[in-house]
């Protein structure tokens, strides 16, 4: 049965190959007709060699010829491919027949034949692996290699159980990683890694060994490919029972590592750690951080190992900090990570760019969680409110729309902070002082510690200013601050995902049904400068812009 599977794999590979090389064949056909003949000859020859091997042991030397043909794939890819296919069939048959199994009870001569065959098999493997970097042959070579892998697992060793040929597999993975062909890796992940749990398991292992062995010599491209490959392995199984799809007959032992989820996770974790030890570049970091909570952290049996990575990222500032926030939060929440001065750091994230960042809504979801506790000091909450209010003065409407309902929720949760909206001077001196000197905002915008900003003594003039925002809906939303707080809370999700585009879209989707108001006075001048008449004044536009003279 396995042999049959292997052969079918070979056939599909051949088919694909034929399609790929179809163009070339056509071209050649035009150039010289002899080539066809040659092709036929080659085919006949290889077939003959193959059948001879099948017929008797005498012709085993044919294998060597075929291997040689296969090794010369740079010169004649077609011949090499045919040879490889033939060899694959031959070896699968031999393996199935048990001719490659070392036995003690056989004669010396037979043992010599077996070891010779094994050497040829190794040569053949080498030939296949070297084809991985050949654009035309890589895909078929991969299929053949995997078919061979299966046959080897079944029959190479003496035992009844299948034994996974780790060595061969790690060679395959290594060559895959080094191969310049992107599609090959995609094919591999699509057809094998995503399909079979054991392949994934051994891939993790192979990647880890690959990376640890050549720790220093790994170049950037390989690192990238490893990264992409690891990132693509997404769906983490839920429990050990889910591990059912195996490429190679699974071990019968219940306790085998292949059958336990934690072992799978451990492999993945080690592969990731091996990669992270090499150091990630900024884009990779961002990508890792973005997918951290969904697809990387679940692979880890000990997410604590990510602590250093995450805290480093969090401390580095900018958008990386924003992205690391969710990971850090995961650790704080799940693994009891103690992050000193977490809120100070969080406060420092509120810089001029935060409201313009594309990770804004992501950040606000987290911020809502962090400041969700009603046990936080009001001083700290006030600092966050005041800082965001300051930022709102320069924020796009979609950001203002988020923060104001959030303020509302905070005010509801921390009634002490409502002094920022309503503060009546109590003493006469205070009132006199206000009359004579006005009021300086007591808030210290440059203070780094949110407990020391004196924001709680300040007022939210910024939000009041935004009540006269040019966008009608924003203005209406900001007015909730000065109305009675009758609502329990606003649901943040309603306000989070807006942008200029969505706001305009919302305006535009409304059909004009009622005639819009038209300015009742037609202005005398729009572009041209006002005449000499004394009562005429230039509009701002005409005075600041040169429209040329008529």
């Amino acid at each position: 049965m396995p042999a049959a599977v292997g052969e079918s794999a070979v056939k599909t590979a051949t088919k694909r190959k034929r399609q790929e090389s179809g163009d070339m064949i056509k071209k050649r056909r035009r150039s010289d007709a002899d080539d066809d003949k040659k092709d036929d000859n080659l085919k006949a020859r290889i077939e003959k060699l193959e059948t001879e091997v099948q017929e008797s042991k005498k012709h085993y030397n044919n294998i060597a010829t075929l291997v040689e043909l296969a090794q010369k794939h740079h010169d004649d890819p077609k011949a090499a491919l045919r040879a490889c296919e033939a060899l694959c069939r031959i070896f699968i048959r031999l393996l199935a027949a048990g001719n490659l199994v070392k036995r003690k009870d056989v004669s010396e001569k037979e043992a010599a034949v077996t070891s010779w065959l094994r050497d040829r098999l190794a040569d053949y493997r080498g030939a296949l692996l070297s084809m991985f970097s050949n654009k035309q042959l890589a895909s078929s070579a991969l299929m053949l290699a995997m078919a061979l892998l299966k046959a080897e697992a079944q029959h190479l060793s003496d035992r009844e159980e299948a034994v996974f040929p780790r060595h061969f597999f790690s060679d395959i993975v290594g060559c895959l990683l080094e191969s310049p062909i992107e599609q090959l890796r995609e094919q591999f992940s699509e057809h094998f890694v995503d399909e079979y749990h054991d392949i994934r398991f051994y891939t993790f292992e192979a990647i880890r060994t690959y990376l640890t062995e050549r720790e220093d010599s790994v170049d950037e491209d390989t690192q990238n490919t490893v990264f992409d490959m690891l990132i693509s392995m997404e769906d983490v199984p839920e429990s050990s029972e889910d591990l059912t799809d195996f490429y190679i007959e699974p071990p019968r032992k219940k306790k085998h590592p292949l059958r336990s989820l934690s072992q799978h996770k451990k492999q993945a974790q080690q592969a990731w750690l091996a990669l992270m030890h090499l150091g990630l570049r900024k884009e990779q970091r961002k990508k890792v951080l973005e997918t951290m909570a969904d697809s990387i952290a679940p692979w880890f049996t000990q997410p604590e190992l990510l602590m250093d990575f995450l805290t480093d990222c969090y401390n580095s500032g900018g958008s990386i900090s924003l992205l690391a926030l969710s990971g850090v939060f995961y650790l704080i929440q799940q693994r009891n990570l103690d992050y000193p001065e977490f809120y100070t750091k969080l406060y420092s994230l509120l810089d001029a760019d935060i409201l313009h960042s594309k990770y804004r809504s992501r950040f606000f979801r987290l911020l809502d969680t962090f400041l969700g506790s009603s046990h936080l000091p009001a001083v700290l909450v006030a600092s966050f409110i005041k800082r965001l209010a300051r930022l709102a003065l320069n924020a796009p409407p979609s950001a203002i729309v988020v923060i104001v309902p959030w303020f509302y929720n905070l005010f509801k949760r921390h009634p002490l902070t409502t002094f920022m909206m309503h503060r009546i001077p109590r003493t006469q001196e205070e009132r006199d002082m206000l009359e004579t000197e006005g009021l300086e905002d007591p808030f210290l915008p440059d203070e780094r510690d949110p407990m020391e900003t004196r924001a709680i003594d300040s007022c939210l003039w910024e939000i009041v200013q935004l009540q006269s925002h040019y966008h009608p809906n924003v203005a209406t939303i900001t007015k909730i601050i000065s109305e009675q707080f009758t609502k329990q809370a606003y649901s943040m999700e309603d306000f989070l995902d807006h942008s200029y585009g969505s706001l305009i879209e919302a305006e535009m989707t409304k059909e004009v049904k009622k005639p819009p108001v038209v300015e009742y006075m037609i202005p005398k001048r729009i572009f041209t400068k006002a005449g000499p008449a004394p009562e005429e004044n230039d509009s701002l536009l005409a005075s600041l812009w040169d429209f040329g003279s008529p």
């Binding site: 729309v401 206000l434 200013q465 000065s482 309603d494 706001l503 108001v517 429209f547």
Partner: protein, 921 residues
């Protein structure tokens, strides 16, 4: 009153006059006579006796033993008597119950185990109160009534004939139709085989005939007797006949009237002639009368028709009405100023986002619908009574107020505005329009003189224009004026058509062409023109953008007048023009949100002048403002053209908010960013919370000390190749100077905003940075002066803002009442009543209580019944016993009597014998 019970009784009896001192015979007789005269005296006496009886029975009433149990305050006045009020009459109740039992239970008891018997149902048989005479009278009347009431239609006892049998509303045996043989059902040929045999049928027929003959004979007999009393049927028939006669008479009278009226109608023309002799020329009338007279004889219908027409004409004839008084100049001016004031008020209202009631309602309905849908989707977990707030300002669910142009009273007045300076001088049209406008514009001028519209001449197209050959579109030879502008155009319905139509016309002359098209296709000339002009206005909007994209400096006034044309068209076609602008904005947003062309800039400018930018929400202005803000907020300038475009948009944004003074954060961001990018040196420390983009290399201004300041123009906004050093420097200087001016203007515009200090402090820092040490060397002197000037102005404003700043006091709201639900107070609380909010439970409780009460009552009654029966049984037994005893005693006595006699006899005999013996002895 002291004394024994008996004494008291006597006293009270005496008091009532029931007993008294013995009266003489005379007095007694007198009293008896009086009593006869006043029979109620006896009644009075009975009442008095009853009162006395009650008074002397201490168990007659049930009262509170010692007044009220608790002290309560009530509205009712309380005294001891009221408190001791009678709560029941146990004696009376007992007596009533006893009596009722006697009537029901006792009867039943007596009738038990008995069968049959007679019940006397005669009226008043058991009533002791009725005298025999009354009884008889009552019985007689009842009998009479019973007889009078017709219980059944076919009562055999009732000998009076009634309606008789009918079929389909017609009497079967009608006396009048006796001649006609009445058909029996069985006579019909359609029933050849009845249930009965032929012979029986024949028999029946014979019988029937006989019967009929007899009836006829009878009737003949009856006719002979004249004095027979008429039956009811006859009476009714007579009545019907009379009413029919009356009806006929009325009809006849009406017909007569109609005839008379027709006669009058025929004579109408004559009368009319007499009546309206003054108005109509005699010849015509003569003719009319002639014809009508002639026709009157022949064709009535035609005459009627004519008459109808005349009546209508008469009805529609206008009577002379007093013309409105000509208004004086002052009045006109006042009216105009009032109108403007009203419009301004409306604008302010819109600015504050207030809406008209009807609009609000409509919007609310719409919103409600949205809300419902949304809420269902959201599944909001919040309290329901204000959960919709979040949706109220749901983005994209803005509210708006859009009165129509007609509401504002524009459509007629400003329908056709021909701006006299739009007409090119020397063109012939000017003369024409002068001609046609001459009369009307005179009077309009006066009213307009006060307003800004004075340069507009409101030319309302008069009917004369239709006669003017120029305006007759059909079959008019094409003529051109000396500028090569044809007098007639096809009305362009799309931009392509417009381009074709304006081909060969100089761009600066297009306003003339537009004006001519508007005149040619004025809505008053053809009903289709409205549609045409609407499409034309849309094409014109596109044309403005088209011209804007190919802007040349001398086109400014052309674009201006074209936008003003669009504006005036927008008054008639607000929806179409708004749609055209909106489609343009949408195009911008979809294709090039961050790469605006000059055409887009011109369009945005035109939007700002055509529509009121101060409105809280406006269908065109709000998207336009968003488009501007999007560019300012999101564009990271790559070249100087981007800076220039941004600068233009900043000016535009500021101009949009000139009236309503709304804050535009993106403007500040852009201006500060641009200044920082163009500044010769990078600022050392952070200048504020605005996001800063690192400028492209070569953006910073260097060594422009000798450049003169110029103003920006549209050509700066267009992407160009590389600029020469001088051009670049002058452009940079121009941008910086313009932006400085914008910042200054915006600070002035927004000086009332509450966070002005926070908003403009960064601006101040940036300007100071530009004006401080190493930078001025790279900038021209006048620019530095301008910068310092702006710094001074802004810092002065900031100082003022700081002084006028007060702590916020936003929440001087009335404290909110806690919402109450369950404890609802009853106005008239009754502690015995159950105020259960659960209706079913309350009803169940009520039913249970009633059941309990009834049960108790029933038990009590049953017990009383049992007691009564016991009592009755006892009584019967006692009666029986006493009867027995009596009988026994009688018997004993009888026997004893008899035996006594015998004993006496014996004794006598014995005595006699003794005597005898004694004698004998």
């Amino acid at each position: 009153m002291a004394g024994s019970q008996l004494k008291r009784l006597k006293a009270s009896l005496k008091e009532q006059g029931i007993i008294g001192p013995q009266k003489s015979k005379k007095q007694k007789r007198q009293n008896a006579e009086e009593q006869k005269a006043r029979p109620d005296k006896r009644l009075q006496r009975g009442e008095a006796l009853a009162g006395i009886r009650e008074q002397f029975n201490p168990f007659q009433f049930k009262t509170n033993a010692r007044g009220p149990k608790f002290e309560v305050t009530t509205n009712k006045p309380t005294n001891d008597r009221a408190a001791m009020a009678i709560k029941g009459r146990p004696g009376l109740a007992k007596a009533v119950g006893e009596e009722r039992r006697r009537q029901t239970l006792l009867v039943e008891m007596q009738r038990r185990n008995k069968i049959g018997g007679l019940i006397d149902r005669r009226f008043g048989e058991n009533d002791a109160n009725l005298s025999l005479e009354d009884k008889m009278i009552e019985r007689y009347t009842r009998e009479q009534q019973r007889a009078h009431k017709k219980s059944s239609m076919f009562d055999l006892d009732d000998d009076e004939p009634i309606g008789g049998l009918t079929h389909m509303g017609r009497p079967l045996f009608d006396d009048d139709e006796d001649e006609a043989p009445v058909k029996d059902d069985f006579d019909g040929e359609d029933l050849p085989s009845g249930d009965e045999s032929d012979s029986s049928r024949a028999e029946r027929r014979i019988l029937k005939r006989q019967r009929l003959e007899e009836a006829v004979a009878e009737q003949e007999e009856e006719d002979g007797q004249p004095e027979r009393k008429r039956t009811k049927k006859e009476i009714y028939e007579e009545i019907i006949a009379k009413s029919k006669l009356h009806k006929y008479e009325r009809q006849a009278a009406k017909d007569e009237d109609n005839e008379l009226r027709a006669e009058l109608d025929q004579a109408m023309p004559e009368l009319q002639q007499l009546l309206f002799q003054r108005h109509k020329p005699p010849s015509k009338d003569e003719k009319g009368t002639e014809t009508s007279m002639v026709i009157a004889g022949k064709d009535k219908a035609a005459v009627n028709k004519e008459y109808d027409i005349r009546v209508k004409q008469l009805a529609e004839d206008k009577r002379a009405q007093p013309a409105e008084r000509t208004k004086t100049e002052e009045e006109k001016a006042e009216e105009e100023s009032n109108r403007l004031k009203e419009l301004e008020e409306k604008r302010l209202k819109r600015m504050r986002g207030e809406m008209d009631e009807e609009d609000e309602e409509e919007d609310e309905q719409e919103e409600d619908k949205n809300k419902r849908g949304r809420k269902a989707a959201d599944g909001e977990p919040y309290d329901t009574f204000q959960a919709d707030e979040a949706d109220d300002f749901g983005l994209g669910k803005g509210v708006s107020y859009r009165p129509t142009a007609t509401e504002l009273g524009f459509d007629d007045e400003d329908d056709f505005l021909i701006d006299d300076d739009l007409v090119a001088s020397g063109s012939e049209l000017e003369l024409e329009s002068d001609d046609m406008e001459g009369e009307e514009s005179d009077e309009e001028d006066g009213s307009d003189s006060g307003s800004d519209d004075d340069e507009f001449v409101k030319g309302i197209l008069s009917e004369t224009i239709t006669k003017d050959p120029v305006f007759q579109t059909d079959g008019n030879p094409k003529g051109d004026d000396e500028n090569g502008i044809p007098y007639t155009f096809p009305c362009p319905q799309s931009h392509n058509e417009m381009l074709k139509a304006f081909e060969g016309i100089e761009v600066t002359r297009t306003p003339v062409a537009v004006q001519r098209i508007r005149a040619l296709y004025h809505p008053k000339l053809d009903s289709k023109n409205k549609e045409r002009l609407a499409k034309f206005s849309q094409a014109l909007v596109q044309h403005i953008a088209y011209l804007g994209d190919r802007f040349e400096p001398h086109w400014a006034s052309t674009l201006e007048s074209l936008s003003r044309h669009v504006h005036s068209l927008a008054k008639s076609f607000p929806i179409e023009v708004a749609k055209a602008y909106r489609t343009h904005i949408q195009e911008i947003e979809q294709d090039r949100p961050l790469a605006l062309t000059v055409g887009d800039l011109v369009i945005l400018t035109a939007v700002g002048t055509t529509f009121p930018t101060s409105d809280h929400f406006h269908q065109v202005v709000t998207p336009a403002m968003l488009a501007i803000a999007r560019y300012l907020g999101q564009k990271i300038p790559q070249g100087f053209c981007d800076y220039a475009t941004g600068t233009y948009l900043s000016i535009l944004a500021l101009q949009y908010q000139q009236f309503s003074k709304r804050y535009v954060p993106e403007l500040i961001n852009f201006c500060l960013n641009t200044l920082c990018s163009l500044a010769p040196g990078k600022p050392q420390q952070k200048l504020g919370f605005f996001p800063l983009h690192e400028p492209a290399p070569g953006t910073r201004i260097r060594g422009a000390g000798k450049t003169t300041i110029r103003q920006l123009n549209f050509s700066d906004c267009q992407q160009k190749g590389s600029l020469s050093r001088e051009d670049e420097a002058s452009l940079k200087v121009a941008i910086i100077s313009t932006i400085t001016a914008i910042l200054k203007a915006s600070a002035e515009t927004w000086h009332k905003l509450s966070a002005l200090y926070e908003t403009f402090h960064p601006a101040l820092l940036v300007l100071q940075h530009l004006a401080s040490k190493p930078n001025p060397t790279h900038l021209p002197g006048p620019l530095t002066a301008k910068l310092t000037d702006a710094v001074a102005a802004i810092s002065r404003l900031l100082q003022l803002a700081r002084l006028s700043r007060r702590p916020l006091e936003l929440h001087h709201h009335r404290p909110l009442a806690i919402r109450t639900y369950v404890p609802k107070f009853e106005d008239s609380f009754d502690p015995n009543k159950h105020y259960d909010p659960d209706r079913e439970r309350a009803e169940l409780a009520k039913l249970k209580a009633e059941h309990k009460r009834e049960r108790k009552g029933a038990l009590r009654e049953l017990r009383k019944d049992a007691a009564f029966m016991q009592r009755e049984n006892l009584r019967i037994k006692k009666e029986r016993d006493t009867a027995y005893e009596k009988k026994y005693k009688r018997l004993v006595a009888e026997i004893q009597g008899e035996e006594g006699r015998a004993a006496n006899e014996y004794a006598r005999e014995k005595e006699a014998r003794k005597k005898k013996s004694a004698r004998a002895r």
